[in-house]
Symmetry: C2
Subunit: 273 residues, 2 copies
């Protein structure tokens, strides 16, 4: 098992590599995992989400226990929505309540698959080889928006807000998901604790089947869906998603984005000539 | 009005700029529209989709005539799904039937908004200034998948296949959408002809409201939704979407992707060391 992380350096550059103890052994990139030779102390670095996915494919109803609780049949093909790249934050970064939304915000602790190679119509065996590693995802949802309109379930909107895709803290390659449990804590109280072996579609099956639908690119993340124990996050509460061997993804539901609206970063940012 | 296009040059590089007659006046990029000074003959260039969106926000039920036909109320907020970057092709490129899908494939001729600046929680006035220009979209759908699972409408899957987002041929800035009609031809027979003034949310309203949900980036495309006249495309048929002042977006439903599966481009593409 190797542990991979991405950091911002003091000069604002982004570095990626393999972590050993307090040191980062820098690599070119996730899809070109070639060491640069540089070794950096992680103390001088700020952790980021461990990859920068172009898209996040988020599954619904991929655990037998959840399907049973929802009283829905398990699907014949992965059921998914897309979360945009802009929704991604790393461990330790705040989840921001949208300025326009006062309703219920829900956590979902999930295993994340990180794609290592471009995949299109790949077999299950090819898919297994195309998985770079595994991470943790908190797939956050503005739950009241989902069925706000009775004619069109708003999956992409409810799950697509900036900061609504927490990923991290690391990607672990060579990880054996079959024997692992995922645990989610809400303010240190255990709310989810489920075995990954209860998945309907295994990670390699997900990659293979989804690659029939759209091309998966290096760094893309598949959020494998959640199981029972989903609940709402009060403002100021902290969600920790944990898998032994991967680590803990920890994010607090922070102040509304409106509180930051006066800074230029949160308004129109680039003005062309 | 200026017309902007993107091309591949003979050395495989990508160039973007303003087209005048048979010449391209090259610009740095869509979000840095600064002339490089280079003027190129377009005859030596291969047209591409006019931008490379990180995401495509595709609206449903955004025309009064379609809402009336569907007997649905017009929505209070734009209803959208996301199409991935990998679904984009330009005018003249073939739409590919997915290898795994033998069902009905449907065209939808739409106005496309191309974002020029990063937008987050912008007002309608700010939104109007953040629009770089307008293009044409054929928002293609594998219609039989949409409600294949009765518990989860598969919007992202049905509309997210590679080649299912035709965009082009150009972006026109300074275009007055209010007086324009969109026409869709299927094999030269008119199937759609609707006024853009029938939109529920105007382009600036769409950008403003959607920027409350997710950050829009330069080059992102909002497909404004379609109106009445949607229909299916038989294999080998050609769809042409036309707006006077923007041009014609023309794509043929080509051979199944399976026929190309033996070329390396259509299998796993990059193998890390």
């Amino acid at each position: 098992m190797d542990t991979w992380m991405r950091f911002m350096s003091s000069d604002g550059g982004v570095v990626f590599g393999r972590v050993e103890g307090a040191y980062l052994h820098e690599y070119e990139s996730l899809d070109q995992p070639v060491p640069t030779g540089a070794v950096l102390s992680t103390r001088a670095l700020t952790p980021l989400a461990p990859c920068a996915p172009g898209k996040i494919v988020a599954l619904w109803n991929n655990y037998h226990a959840l399907a049973a609780k929802l009283d829905k049949p398990v699907p014949a093909h992965p059921l998914f929505l897309l979360k945009p790249a802009g929704s991604v934050i790393g461990s330790g970064e705040p989840i921001r309540r949208p300025a326009s939304y006062a309703g219920k915000i829900v956590y979902e602790g999930e295993l994340g698959i990180v794609i290592g190679r471009r995949c299109r119509d790949v077999s299950v065996d090819e898919a297994a080889e195309a998985i770079f590693g595994y991470t943790l995802v908190n797939d956050v949802t503005a739950a009241d928006l989902l069925n706000e309109n009775p004619h069109f379930p708003q999956w992409c909107r409810a799950k697509g807000f900036d900061t609504f895709c927490c990923i991290g803290p690391a990607i672990v390659s060579g990880f054996n998901w079959r024997s692992a449990h995922l645990v989610t804590l809400l303010d240190d109280v255990e709310r989810q604790n489920y075995p990954l072996s209860d998945m309907v579609f295994s990670p390699a099956e997900q990659v293979s089947l989804i690659s029939q639908d759209l091309t998966l690119e290096p760094g893309d993340v598949i959020a494998c869906g959640t199981s029972v124990g989903v609940g709402s996050i009060k403002d100021g509460a902290t969600v920790s998603v944990f898998i032994d061997g991967i680590g803990t993804l920890k994010n607090t539901l922070g102040a509304a984005r409106a509180a930051l609206a006066e800074t230029p970063e949160y308004a129109v940012m680039a003005r062309p000539a």
